[in-house]
Symmetry: C2
Subunit: 339 residues, 2 copies
């Protein structure tokens, strides 16, 4: 059988997510006809290896999108706002990893395991949710289908990869400096992250919530198509390289069965249950790094409230939290003839 | 005026808490007549410097407590169980940093800023609460006096100092190994902690809660003398050296004023409010390390529940979380003529 192939452009090819996108296209045998690498002018002319070929990075121009079927965009919100409509006007579908269009009612916001049906009437731009939201939704949605979720109290432990490849370098450099009794230099992140942690530095709103936290609130409501869900979150950056962890307390609208909850999570797509109670082995960032699934474990009846459940999860921020989810969206579009 | 002086013994002098106790006795000009350093036989004969004198470490024997007024014990629960009653029988007051006696109804469990009155009828042994409990209680108790607290959902970010001086060395050694592309060796903690994190490794109960979490539940109930408070916690070890952080969601039994809550916390003893919203500067472990006060900040009305407040805190695990609280208990005993 002859599989149709697609011309793909990666916008933001030199970032942490960009390079993961390239790996995933190969690993998942994505039907790529031609791959175009686009990035900011400072990377123009550099090459990146893809499938044994050296591809030259080009700057973005309107002509970049001629003949492109799929744009995987991960160069930030301002770049996406500038180029997405142009790419769509040239006939491409844009799967955008930035926050630019996530709350646009015309733009589907999709976690393929949760709401693939939202892709059915897309208009060219599809938004990839924020990493913390994707990871949380994979674990919460199967439970929400069991009993409607009333409220979530979340606390995150977020790796520096969420701030990009340079923040990962900064954690390494700062850690080495501290071990050498030198002052750590904070240039990418606002405060030293080596052997330290701090509240997420995204912009704060009038309610005292940062943008990262409000993404968990607003994106979950849109993805679940359930505006009634109440969510509060405390997002924290920790000195970990590339997997996020989350402590999630979920209140159902009515009593629930912990046995059923565990059973549902053990079968949930995109979820791997990691619970070895005797060894006290549960999800950890180093175990989640490089994995496709979000690792979920230590599922407990909350002793403080009969309708609440506690769970813990770790997921690769760059993969399922960003690049993998985007590639999976492209795969669903192909499977459903939506491209 | 002639101040009375006291003969003090430190049991567990070579540990992280032991050395902090020695520093605090000097810093706070504690009225020490004679200081005796006790530790396990393997440290016998070693010396530690105190106030310009080299003190020789002795092994513990029943005679160790002859003439001692105050024992500051930080050598673990089994050592405290073995020696506390003997020390009391010799006329000493034992301030015990271990979990050995915390739930004993005859033993006061005291955070001096919260329940100093519990010392009034002590019977020789006084328990120092667990570090996570002390830090949380300093921030929650002023709010509990404003409106009774119904429920707390806590997530912790705990430094390795909670597992002792050797765990601190292990974090440093593992971090260096990882930076050198070598395998990190986990000997003290069960899993690698360098650039990683994991759920607290204290023993787990049948409900799926670890001992560290149940300390937050049971000790808070005893310290507040309020068994109705409902608490759930997720305790996590993070690659930080010596200050713990906690994300605390508090539900009051009735509506509350966020303005009053902030005002109360700005005046609360043992609390320092750190909230620079424009710079997004809030408590961080590196800022809390070496500090006496627990740093509290980012106090928000929880958007998911009208009766809930969110707050964030960091506190030095070795100081206020252990050694300082013990010395403060001794100071209250002296002030109130309870010794």
């Amino acid at each position: 059988m002859h599989r149709k192939k697609y011309n793909v452009a990666i916008l933001g090819a030199t970032g942490a997510v960009g390079s993961e996108l390239m790996s995933l296209l190969i690993e998942r045998d994505f039907p790529v006809a031609d791959l175009k690498l686009l990035a900011s002018p400072k990377s123009t002319g550099k090459t990146l290896s893809f499938n044994g070929q050296d591809l030259v990075i080009a700057p973005v121009t309107p002509e970049s999108f001629n003949g492109i079927d799929i744009v995987l965009a991960s160069a930030g919100a301002s770049v996406s706002k500038e180029w997405a409509a142009i790419a769509v006007s040239k006939g491409a579908v844009v799967i955008d990893n930035s926050s630019a269009f996530r709350q646009d009612p015309k733009v589907p916001l999709v976690v393929p395991e949760v709401n693939p049906q939202a892709l059915d009437h897309h208009q060219g731009i599809i938004a990839n949710p924020n990493c913390t939201t994707i990871l949380m939704n994979l674990a919460v949605y199967p439970l929400h289908k069991m009993k409607p979720v009333k409220r979530i109290v979340a606390a995150t432990y977020q790796s520096v990869s969420g701030a990009g490849a340079r923040a990962m370098d900064e954690l390494i450099e700062q850690s080495q400096a501290i071990l050498n009794n030198q002052e750590p230099k904070a240039e990418i992140l606002p405060y030293p992250i080596g052997f330290n942690l701090f509240l997420h530095n995204s912009p704060m709103d009038d309610q005292g919530y940062c943008a990262e936290e409000m993404k968990m609130v607003n994106e979950t409501r849109k993805i679940f198509d359930y505006p009634d869900i109440q969510i509060t979150a405390t997002c924290v950056r920790v000195p970990v390289l590339r997997a996020h962890s989350e402590a999630i307390n979920i209140e159902f609208s009515e009593p629930f069965s912990i046995v059923t909850a565990k059973e549902l999570l053990s079968k949930a797509p995109g979820v791997e249950l990691i619970e070895d109670w005797s060894r006290q082995y549960f999800p950890m960032p180093i175990a989640a790094s490089g994995k496709d699934n979000v690792l979920v474990g230590r599922i407990r009846q909350d002793i403080s409230h009969p309708n609440c459940i506690e769970l813990w999860l770790c997921g690769d921020q760059i993969r399922k939290g960003a690049a993998l989810n985007a590639v999976q969206i492209a795969e669903v579009l192909i499977d459903r003839n939506l491209i």
